[in-house]
Symmetry: C2
Subunit: 343 residues, 2 copies
DNA sequence: CTCCTGCGCTTGATCGTTCCAAGGGAGCAT
DNA sequence: ATGCTCCCTTGGAACGATCAAGCGCAGGAG
């Protein structure tokens, strides 16, 4: 059937238009787009020329309706994050958009309410607006994972299921302990023997994991960690206070911190006391935020391989959405150390 | 027609299911969702209960197909931006997601190639995947605006059409000149009389705009600007060099910079010379990036009202997508000054 | 010569929603 | 009782793609 004459010319062309121009049926055009192998070579060329000539691109809504897939990945923007988390998240989102784009997926952002961690998921799921979710805040026993699994919603988590060893959903995470161990070893190799730790409160799984790496490195060299660790809130102010206390009481020559925020606090304390970061006392942060790159004299920091994380997540998503689904084991990636003036 | 028995129970309910349960027709359910006024009160209640009971949510793909609208807004992620631009962009994206969510729209991110500024737009447009675009990099004569207008694609620009006074598309921008004028006045009020400018190369419209505000403030007080301005690349290193030269040759007591990046360079120079930022020499940056908030002693910076920008953009989009479209004039918002220790 | 097989393409049905034009019931006046 | 509104409701069609059969033709085996 041909288009109704007089129709507004800005309407995009449809499969039927292409079919008519190429002198084939709709299905043949569809095959030319999705299963080119099924066509005879000369027919394929003819259809492709018609597609080119009309500037045809399949209507997403129609395709989504028929195939029950949207090729969209939902990602929740968490309101009011801490700045280091934000910095990392920004880099992660960039990578995710690029990687998923190469795999034929787009990223759909939606807002979360600070109070209800499930807000937004439900509607997108029931309206089949997205094929899958990427969940980024699985720490501290957030209920998203269990909730999504219960509804059989495909999702991949950025973050281990700390509190649930039984969890069977795919996940990708960065080995924080390996990162802090790397940091501590770097300092040990430079001759430091009294290396302090400033981390988060004990109820943070991530914090305890990162602390474990520091501890492991020291113990591997037969050094004691006692009196060298402090656990505080993730603010500059806390980092500043904690480092002041540690300097007075334990006289460390270096600090490893659970975040760049805390490390900035240490730098402030050093400046207060006329100590030079990197010369008199070494400092290493975590996340390689923009601040770490800009501050004097440059903050050495553990850098998460977020590009690889995004790539692995997209890979897991593709498996999850395949027929039949392939679900692999969780993946743990190793961070690197961005060495700068502070160490 | 009722659902086929034996169908997989995880299939989401459809309009027909709700209709059957409520004892009405499909259209009545559709009206209950989209035009509740058309229903008798008791019928409406019955339908709403059925919707609630089944957990029904309209299938997005089917709705999109029928109404030729996706309720998605396309936003391109620009690869490898400078960090200040990134910082601002992150805050902007957050606001945009929240505001557009309230208006019933979601944000679709797509990747741009560094080389082709139009990559990605074309396909999303032709496949009717998004209703409209938000374009964020209209400076420097990027061709998106003209290209999109030519295809009658609805879009709102964050940024003025600097190079095209004839442009009729809706836009929202921040008055950079007002920001730097605010900064300069703040310094003048503190008694500074020799206030230097470090900005970008002359071919940047935004840079020249910001420079104009500084210049205007000085001239309003009868002060000369000659010898006090420098135009360089937007890097810390350039800011550092430029400020060193200015200090030697023009002896300013304060700096206003076109970006936080440049301001960081100034802070480095001050530290090199044992000068205290805020005490000996005042420094003001632009963008209120995370770095400005964290660095010692806190960098005073011009803060763009990105929440308002997002809100106005969504407002403009709603007008653009209404029937008939309402397209208002461009909107210029005034930034504020985040005062910290450096001034 | 007939039958079967497989390739390449066409045809009708379907996904779940909204639009359209017509159907139907209650209420009121005649 | 009949006719006429006025609303609300109804079935059919359409949006544009893919799925599942089906059809004609060529070539080989029986």
């Amino acid at each position: 059937m041909s288009r109704i004459p007089g129709r507004v010319p800005t309407q995009p062309p449809t499969l039927a238009d292409v079919a008519e121009l190429a002198g084939v049926s709709r299905q043949t055009v569809s095959n030319a787009v999705n299963n080119p192998d099924l066509l005879r070579a000369d027919t394929l060329v003819r259809v492709q020329e018609a597609i080119e000539q009309l500037g045809y691109s399949p209507n997403r809504a129609a395709r989504n309706l028929r195939t029950r897939a949207s090729h969209l990945i939902g990602l929740r923007m968490n309101p009011g994050q801490e700045f280091t988390a934000n910095a990392a998240m920004d880099r992660f989102v960039h990578s995710l958009v690029e990687t998923s784009g190469e795999a034929g997926y787009h990223v759909l952002l939606f807002a979360g309410s600070g109070t209800d961690p499930l807000a937004g998921y439900d509607d997108l799921l029931r309206s089949t607006a997205v094929d899958a979710f990427v969940v980024t805040d699985t720490y501290l026993g957030n209920p998203q994972a269990a909730w999504l699994r219960e509804r059989r919603a495909p999702f991949v988590a950025f973050g281990r299921p700390w509190d649930d060893a039984e969890a069977t959903h795919p996940w990708v995470d960065v080995d924080g302990a390996a990162g802090t161990e790397l940091a501590a070893r770097h300092l040990l190799d430079k001759g430091h023997e009294r290396i302090a730790w400033i981390g988060w409160r004990k109820d943070s799984w991530i914090g305890e994991d990162r602390r474990a790496g520091w501890s492991r490195a020291l113990k591997a060299r037969g050094l004691s960690t006692s009196g060298l660790a402090s656990r505080v809130e993730d603010t500059i102010h806390s980092g500043r206070e904690a480092s002041a206390v540690l300097l007075d009481e334990a006289h460390p020559s270096a600090f490893v911190c659970a975040s760049d925020t805390l490390a900035m606090g240490v730098l402030h304390t050093l400046a207060d006391r006329g100590l030079r970061a990197g010369q008199d006392v070494a400092v290493i942060g975590f996340d390689d935020s923009q601040v770490a790159q800009v501050v004097r004299p440059g903050l050495t920091s553990v850098r998460q391989p977020l590009e690889d994380v995004a790539s692995q997540i997209v890979n897991a998503l593709e498996g999850l959405l395949a027929h039949p689904p392939r679900v692999g084991p969780g993946i743990l990636l190793t961070p690197t150390l961005a060495v700068r003036g502070s160490s």
